[in-house]
Symmetry: C2
C-alpha cells in the first residue's frame, strides 16, 4: 500500500496504531499555536490523482498515466504500480524513492492544543495543510476553522481550499483593478461556489463550461452568463458574454489548447470596441488569464492577437493566502463559517477507506474527469 | 502613394510643400513644451512592415502578407496594394479607410520651439513619437534628445527607441527583483546594444540567436552566453547557460513556437536544482517571459511544465516609459547622449526616398527578415 506516508515534521504515528497518541506529540506543542486534530475525513479529489501543474505531475502519480496502473494485494499489502515515461524522470529527482503526504484538507476533532487555543480541544474543525490522509495531523491554528454547531463534521472536509480559492479570486480581481470575471471548468464544485459568491456580491461572471448539459445546470443555479466551449458558436457566445460582463480577468482551470487565447481575444475585442483610434499595439486595457489548474494537459496555444497589454501565468491559492493581509483572511474565514452549508456546501461521491482509494472501480470514476468526483477518505474505515 | 499621412494633431503640412512652415504651426506652440523639428532622416525598420503585435498586424500592411503586394505608378502617384485575408478585416475596424502616420523615430533640426526650450532652435535632435515619415513634426520636449556636437545627424535617427528599450529592460529586471536576463533574436541591433550594456554593467545575459553564424558574431562582440535555437543541442545549451547566468527573466522578440516555454523550462530546472524538497507546484521563484515583438507569427506553445510561479505577457516600451520615474528616464537619456556613437551606435542598410520605400527590391530585402535591415527614409529626397 503505497499511499500512506509518514513525514516526521507533520504526521504523528502510524495510522493503524494510535495507542500512544496524543502523548507522544506533546513536545511539538511547545509552540502555543500548534494543534493536533484527529482526522475524521480527508477530502480527496481528482487533482490528487490527475492534475498536472508542474513537470513533476500530480502528487500521487507524478506524470504517470492513470491507465498505466496495476493494482495487487489486499489490506495493508495493497500495492499500486504506475509507469512513468522515462523522459519525465528528470523532473522527479527530488521525489524519487520518497513517500509523500497526500490530501490537501479534511475535517477532524482537536485532541491536543498549544497554550493559546486550549478551548478548541474536543471541537470539530476543518483542517488544511496537506498530508491529511492520516489519522492525526499537527497544524498551526491558522490552518483550522471551527465547524459551527449543527454542521455534520464531514461537511467541513472541503470548506477551506475551494472556498478560500473562490474568495481569493475575487480579492485578486479587486486588487488588480478588474470588475468582472471569466471562469472555466465552471460547473466544478469551485465554479458553483464562485457563481454563488458572484450572484450574492453582484459581480458579473462568465461561466465557461465544457459540455452542453452544464449550461442549464449552471443556469438553474442562477448563472447569468454561461457558454459551452464544445459549441460551434462558442467564440461568438464567449465574445458577447465577455463584452456584456466587461470582463478583463479570467481564472482558467483548463490550461491546454486555445481556450486562454480565445478568452483574451474576446476581451481585446470588447476593449477595442470602446476606442476610436487605431493603435498598432492594441488596447491599453490590461487583460489577464490566470491558470490555476491544468485539466487539459496539452500545451496552451496563444496566438498573441490581442495587442500588448496582456498576461497569462500561474495563480496558486497557497501563495495568495501567504500574501493576503491578516484582516482580509479573517474576513474570508468568517464568511465561510457563516455560509458553510449554503454558499460553500460541497457534495461527495462517497466515503472510502485508504485501500478503497486504490480500487480499480474508484480509479475508473476518477479517470472520467467528471465534474465533482470528490471523495472523502476515512482513515479509520477498515482496510479491505 | 499611400505611405504619407497627415494627422492634424501632430503633423504639419504636406511633406512636399513647406512654403509656410513653421509659421502655420505657431498656434500649436502656445504650449511652452512643444517643439517643431524639420525631419532629416526617419528610421524605418522591418517592424513597420512586418511586426504582428496585434490582431491588426503591422502599421503599414496590417495583417496582409508582404508577398501579396502589387506596386504601380511613379512619384507622388506610386501606389501599393496588398491583400488582407477577409477573416482579419474585423480587427481593422478602427483603421479601415484611414491613412496612418508611420515611422517611430528620426532625427532633424528644431525650427520652432515653445517658450521653455528656445535654446534648442537650430540644433540637431533625435525625435520620437511616431509619424516621423514627414517633413515637419511637432513633439513635446521629452520626445527630443539633442544630438551632441561631432555626431552626424543621421546617427541620431535611431538613438531613442532601441536604446531606451534596452535600458528599460534592465530597469524592469531590477524593479522586479531579477538579476540576469535572457534575450532572443539577440543578434538584432537592439540585441547588440543590450549585450554592450550588460557587458558594461556586469549583468549576466543569455543571448538566444536563430542562426549558427550569429553565435560567433555575438561572441566576437564579447558576449559570454550565446546559444542558437536552430541547433540540435539547443535546449541543453540553453539550460546550461540559463543556469550559469541565474536568469529568471526573458525578453522575447520571437513570440511564436516553443521558445518561450523552453526558456521557462530552463529557468525552472535551474530553480528546482536549488531546492531539496519536492513541491507539486514547482519552484517558488517567479519566472517571467515578456514578449516585446513577434518575429515568429505562429502561436506561442506553452506546455506549463514549469510549476505555478511563472508569467508570460506583452511588454511595450512606450508603456514602460510612461510608468518610469522622471529621474530614471533622465538618467537613461544622459547615458544615451554620452554613448551615442559607442554603446548605442546603429547601422543602416541605406537611405531611401519615400517612393523607394515602396520599391520591389527594398521589399525583397525586408521580406528576408534578416537582422538589421533598418533603412533611413529621407522625406526630402526626390521621389522616383
Amino acid at each position: 500500500m503505497l499511499l500512506y506516508t509518514v513525514d516526521a515534521r507533520t504526521h504523528v504515528g502510524d495510522p493503524y496504531d494510535d495507542s500512544n497518541v496524543p502523548m507522544q506529540v506533546h513536545p511539538l506543542l511547545r509552540t502555543p499555536d500548534l494543534q493536533v486534530a484527529r482526522v475524521a475525513a480527508a477530502q480527496f479529489s481528482q487533482e490528487d490523482w490527475l492534475v498536472n501543474l508542474s513537470s513533476g505531475g500530480s502528487m500521487l502519480l507524478g506524470p504517470a498515466h492513470l491507465a498505466s496502473g496495476a493494482i495487487s494485494g489486499k489490506g495493508k499489502d495493497r500495492t499500486a504500480v504506475f509507469q512513468i515515461p522515462p523522459e519525465r524522470m528528470g523532473s522527479l529527482a527530488t521525489r524519487t524513492g520518497k513517500s509523500l503526504p497526500v490530501g490537501n484538507e479534511g475535517a477532524g476533532i482537536v485532541v491536543a492544543a498549544g497554550e493559546r487555543n486550549k478551548d478548541l480541544i474536543g471541537k470539530p474543525v476543518a483542517v488544511m495543510g496537506g498530508g491529511m490522509v492520516t489519522r492525526y495531523r499537527v497544524v498551526p491554528a491558522r490552518n483550522l476553522l471551527p465547524i459551527p454547531d449543527g454542521v455534520p463534521i464531514e461537511n467541513g472536509a472541503a470548506v477551506l481550499i475551494n472556498p478560500l480559492t473562490a474568495l481569493a479570486m475575487i480579492e485578486t480581481m479587486r486588487e488588480r483593478g478588474h470588475s468582472a470575471l471569466v471562469h472555466t471548468a465552471a460547473a466544478s464544485s469551485l465554479g458553483q461556489m464562485l457563481n454563488r459568491i458572484c450572484l450574492q456580491d453582484d459581480i458579473p461572471l462568465v461561466n465557461v463550461v465544457r459540455r452542453p448539459e452544464q449550461v442549464s445546470f449552471l443556469e438553474n443555479q442562477g448563472a447569468r452568463y454561461v457558454c459551452d466551449s464544445s459549441s460551434s458558436s462558442f467564440t461568438d457566445e464567449l465574445s458577447a458574454q465577455v463584452a456584456a460582463a466587461g470582463a478583463t480577468l479570467a481564472f482558467d482551470a483548463v490550461g491546454g489548447g486555445k481556450l486562454a487565447g480565445q478568452i483574451l481575444s474576446a476581451m481585446e475585442a470588447h476593449c477595442l470596441a470602446q476606442v476610436f483610434a487605431y493603435n498598432r499595439y492594441g488596447s491599453k486595457v490590461h487583460k489577464q488569464v490566470y491558470f490555476y489548474g491544468g485539466l487539459d494537459t496539452r500545451p496552451s496555444e496563444l496566438d498573441r492577437s490581442y495587442g500588448m497589454s496582456w498576461s497569462v501565468g500561474g495563480w496558486l491559492i497557497f501563495d495568495e493566502l501567504k500574501r493576503m493581509k491578516v484582516e482580509r483572511l479573517d474576513a474570508l474565514r468568517s464568511r465561510i463559517s457563516a455560509e458553510m452549508q449554503s454558499t460553500f456546501a460541497c457534495e461527495f461521491a462517497g466515503e472510502l477507506s485508504m485501500t478503497e482509494l486504490l480500487d480499480p472501480d474508484t480509479l475508473k470514476v476518477i479517470a472520467q474527469r467528471s465534474t465533482g468526483a470528490k471523495y472523502l477518505v476515512n482513515p479509520r474505515k477498515p482496510l479491505s
